[in-house]
């Protein structure tokens, strides 16, 4: 019983740490390459109708 409760407490603490590590990682600025990538994907989508053969990435 007591052990079970403490394990749960421990789980919560682990999750707390996980969230902290994860939040740190998610706070990093997103590199420019992703803005460029989205731009490319949008541009490609806009001219999708003419021909879908453009495969340069």
């Amino acid at each position: 019983m007591a052990n079970k409760r403490k394990t749960t407490q421990l789980d919560q603490q682990i999750d707390e740490n996980l969230r902290r590590v994860y939040a740190d990682a998610a706070q990093e600025p997103v590199p420019d390459r992703f803005a460029k990538l989205l731009e490319q994907l949008r541009a490609r989508g806009d001219e999708e109708q003419p021909k879908p053969s453009e495969d340069q990435l």
């Binding site: 007591a2 707390e16 994860y22 939040a23 990682a25 994907l41």
Partner: protein
Amino acid sequence: MKTDTETHPDPRDELVTHLPAMRAFATSLTRNAAAADDLVQDAVVKAWSNFDKFQPGTNLRAWLFTILRNTYYSLYRKRRREVEDPDGKMAGQLSEKPAHDGHLAMADFRVAFTKLTDEQREVLILIGAEGFSYEEAAVMCGCAVGTVKSRTNRARKRLAELMHIDDEDQLEMTDAATMAVVMGKPAA
């Protein structure tokens, strides 16, 4: 069926807001920053060409994460064995950025985390960090809810072991100290 832009925002516009989380999730899986960004890029490209299959109004992050983890398991896991360092790099990188208090304990935690299996890291991020339900995570991982639960439990247990707080009797005696270690805070 077209995306109903009247009621739901275009997921193509929303995608950008999920990039930081996708990168964090990818980093947890690959344990390597460069590989993580390649993985996110592949997942974004894949998502983009599949947006017609996305159900407007459903959880976009869950959908993106599913694509990301599928991409990881189909492409990156294999590739990584050939190329990469395992434990060291990510742990080293991460511990360069200590939390203000108790950074040693946090560094331990980060190192221990990188030693878990791919599946263990995955469920801990989905359940523990992102807060998805067991049911949601099961759908995302393509496995049974029970599998996700037992995987999560084993992952937590393993983390505790790696951080040398495996013995429950000991845990009872050193509760405050344990709490301090796990919380990354001073005991007082």
